[in-house]
């Protein structure tokens, strides 16, 4: 099994001055130098992936991931357009973006990849990638900052990312493009007059940097709401990046931190900070917020047949997957309803426990449950359920180092053969039918949860 890791982390500023006007102000020049130093640290780390969480790319429908392998355009800042234009041509790891997208969905998040010519990559990402990866040698991935996301959603986003880093064996650098205090002067100022907007902003910035230089990243994460109230203008994105960066670093308080520069850009507090995973200090935690692996918050605003949740209070209890010799278990598949693993490896073969359509994390049933908590029959979509079963099978196989293409034999169970066989068969033809395993389809009276289809799979590794 691959074991990727986060080899370095950075906090970097978003404004275009460091690219377009570093000579116009001594502080801007220092930030530029710090950016250049950060680029050298990244180069020396032999990292093979840059991951950017940008606060200047707000999103509404979950989180978005750039998946255009080579986005090219000319970026002009909405406020500081007189500084000039930044031409960019980036090297994006589209495959990693797709995996992160899938893992996010598996953990209950809304997520999607974005691959459209001319998509406007935000100023923070453009500045960060231009300066941290000047020769474009290291592939990158960029994720948006969701307007409505709070701590749990942002944390799960990071954990999904870390899981993909682990699975793909990458040596990754986590980067947040962000300001500290973000209050700018609301009128034009001459470059030589730039300074942090207020003493209060400066004092809070210094406090944040004191924490970071001591490697106490999780403390800053848990102070995020207070920081937002104290020194942040209420723009669309709150002070969320510390949640993401802390989760990317296992919520640690004993990183090795170094502030490479702290200066003002048009009044905002801007810093380049390096956080290395080498342990320092004891890493005790001042606070103790709940940790989360999957997001189960409200996302069913459009709820109809497709998003009715199973009432687990009336259904069987969920179990942690059983650990035994050769067992294969994953957070990307729904939890068992009994004491068994997701799969078991014997020689070159994988035997999967019966797989249904329930979604990992949320336990929702795509296509809807077959009855409500009172046993009243509901309409449901057999095709959506069947597709979800196939997707769950694929995730378990991938966790085992196999794939859907290695499926050898399938036994399918339908609770209503007359009603559902046609739709089930159509999805089969488009998915497993193209792989070619042997198949047996049985009609049964019921399954333990309110689902209409389940499959038992044998595959090779």
């Amino acid at each position: 099994m691959s074991t990727g890791e986060i080899v370095e982390s950075f906090v970097v500023p978003v404004h275009p001055h460091t690219v377009l006007a570093p000579d116009q102000n001594e502080g801007w020049g220092k930030l530029r130098q710090a950016y250049d130093d950060a680029a050298q640290i990244i180069k020396d780390s032999e990292a093979d992936l840059l991951i950017i969480y940008s606060t200047t790319w707000p999103s509404i429908i979950g989180h978005q991931l750039i998946s255009d392998p080579n986005p090219e355009w000319v970026m002009v800042d909405h406020d500081f357009h007189e500084l000039g234009s930044i031409h960019y041509s980036f090297n994006i790891d589209a495959e990693f973006a797709a995996l992160w997208d899938a893992e996010s969905k598996a953990r209950g998040l809304q997520s999607r990849c974005v691959n459209y010519h001319g998509f406007p990559i935000d100023v923070g990402s453009v500045v960060a990638l231009t300066l941290l990866n000047p020769d474009n040698k290291i592939p990158a991935v960029i994720v948006s900052s969701n307007v409505y996301a709070d701590r749990s959603e942002t944390t799960v986003l990071a954990k999904a990312c870390k899981e993909v880093v682990r699975k793909t064996g990458r040596k990754a650098v986590a980067i947040t493009a962000m300001s500290l205090s973000n209050r700018m002067f609301t009128e034009h100022i001459e470059p030589e007059n730039d300074r942090i907007h207020s003493l209060k902003d400066d004092e809070w910035n210094q406090k944040i940097l004191e924490f970071l230089s001591a490697g106490r990243l999780e403390d800053v994460g848990q102070l995020s709401r207070t920081i937002q109230q104290q020194i942040r203008v209420q723009k669309v994105v709150n002070f969320k990046p510390m949640w993401w960066l802390s989760a990317m670093n296992d919520n640690r308080n004993d990183l090795t931190g170094k502030v490479l520069a702290y200066e003002a850009i048009h009044g905002a507090g801007c810093a380049v900070v390096n956080l290395n995973p080498a342990h320092s200090g004891f890493g005790d935690k001042e606070y103790d917020e709940d940790d989360v692996e999957v997001f189960s918050g409200e996302r069913g605003v459009l709820d109809t047949i497709n998003t009715v949740e199973t009432d687990q209070s009336d259904g069987p209890a969920l179990w942690e997957p059983t650990e035994a010799e050769g067992s294969v278990n994953t957070n990307s598949a729904p939890k068992p309803v009994g004491a068994y693993p997701h799969a078991r490896k014997v020689g070159d073969l994988l035997y999967l426990s019966g797989v249904g359509p329930r979604q990992p994390g949320t336990n929702e049933i795509p296509g809807g449950p077959i009855h409500d908590s009172n046993g009243n029959a509901l309409d449901y979509d057999i095709k959506a359920q069947t597709q979800a079963v196939v997707d769950n099978i694929a995730r378990i196989l991938e966790e085992a180092g196999s794939s859907i293409n290695n499926v050898l034999d399938v036994t399918s169970f339908l609770i209503d053969m007359d009603r559902d066989f046609k739709g089930y068969n159509e999805v089969w033809a488009e998915t497993l039918g193209k792989v070619g395993p042997t198949r047996t389809t049985l009609a049964i009276r019921a399954l333990p949860t309110p689902i209409a289809v389940e499959m038992k799979v044998i595959a090779s590794i």
Binding site: W57, P58, S59, I60, I61, G62, V74, V76, H78, D79, F80, H81, E82, G84, S85, Q110, V114, Y116, H117, G118, F119, P120, D122, N146, Y148, R183, M184, F185, T186, E187, H188, V233, Q234, K235, H266, R299, G300, V301, L302, T304, T307
Partner: protein, 315 residues
């Protein structure tokens, strides 16, 4: 020999009624890119099966209402050109590019080609500067026009045959409060009106904003599936109807008065200042507005409203 100053010329023009410019109509003209997507214009890459007809029919009625009204230029204030350092104005004669919505790129990838009335933009800019507002002309040719401006511009006049003045949304509400935002936008509206009158041009002014603005956080598999579209909450609906009632009954001062509560409680897109600016350019109308349409888009409330100044101006 007496050489009149620009100030004198302005006064002379003001004294000569025939040379005066005027605002012929003001409109609330929201910009959700879904509307352009559903229209399937040749400029937009994605293809839709329709959707959001109530609002698109509203725009049709607005266009029909103004088809015989003569005007020279359109002035738009869009919440999606967000500036934190003052108010900015597009300052080049033409902008052509591809606009991709950063939030809904699946719906809006629009090839635009629009002309700007730079003279009028500069006149408004200069007047605002004289009034003490922080302003800047945007003259970088690489600048991409925001999708809000383009959506409103397309839905209001898809021919794109009138020059525009495009004004950014100064996010003073984010820095200070709704009250401060209103003071600044009332002033910007006042100088916009003065500049238009002095320009000798006939102009339509457009505020490109929604009303209540709480989005759904999920998108249906088919974005134009209207069985999934509704307001996000009853409270949002009540606020939208209250504001619409004020517009229909000529009580715009009450909108100004209640704007802080509306903006906070309905998470309204009025936070960008466009609506206050619009009402100020129209001198806070006491006559009834025409409601051409109301509908929701991913849960947000949107109204298409016209103040037919041409009907109410003094003889």
């Amino acid at each position: 020999m007496y050489i009149p100053s620009a100030y004198d010329i302005g006064n002379i023009l003001l004294a000569c009624n025939m040379a005066q410019g005027e605002i012929v109509a003001g409109c609330l003209a929201p910009h959700p890119p879904h509307l352009v997507y559903a229209e399937n214009p040749e400029q937009n890459e994605p293809v839709a099966e329709g959707g959001w007809e109530q609002l698109r029919w509203g725009y049709e009625r607005l266009r029909e209402s103004l088809k015989d009204v003569d005007y020279d230029a359109i002035v738009i204030l869009s919440p999606h050109w967000q500036t934190y350092v003052g108010t900015h104005f597009l300052g080049l004669e033409n902008f052509q590019s591809l606009s991709v919505d950063p939030v809904f790129p699946n719906l809006f990838r629009y090839h635009y080609d629009m002309n700007v009335d730079v003279d009028l933009a500069k006149q408004i800019h200069d007047k605002a500067h004289s009034a003490g507002l922080a302003v800047k002309m945007m003259t970088n040719p690489d600048f991409r026009v925001d999708y809000g401006t383009i959506t409103t511009g397309h839905m209001f006049r898809p021919e794109w045959d009138k020059p525009l003045v495009v004004i950014s949304s100064n996010r003073s509400r984010a820095y200070y409060s709704v009250e401060v935002m209103q003071e600044m936008m009332v002033e910007l509206g006042r100088v916009t009106r003065e500049a238009i009158i002095e320009s000798g041009k006939k102009v339509v002014v457009l505020a490109s904003n929604s009303l209540s603005h709480r989005h759904f956080t999920t998108e249906s598999e088919i974005p134009e599936d209207m069985s999934k579209e509704h307001i996000t909450s009853h409270a949002m609906h009540l606020w939208d109807m209250r504001i619409i009632d004020y517009m229909k009954t000529g009580q715009c001062q009450r909108i100004i008065d209640e704007m802080p509560e509306f903006t906070e409680q309905a998470i309204a897109e009025t936070d960008g200042g466009a609506f206050t600016w619009l009402l100020s350019t129209l001198e806070v109308p006491k006559y009834p507005a025409i409601l051409h349409g109301y509908g929701t888009i991913i849960g947000t409330g949107n109204a298409i409203v016209e103040w037919p100044v041409y009907r109410y101006k003094e003889a």
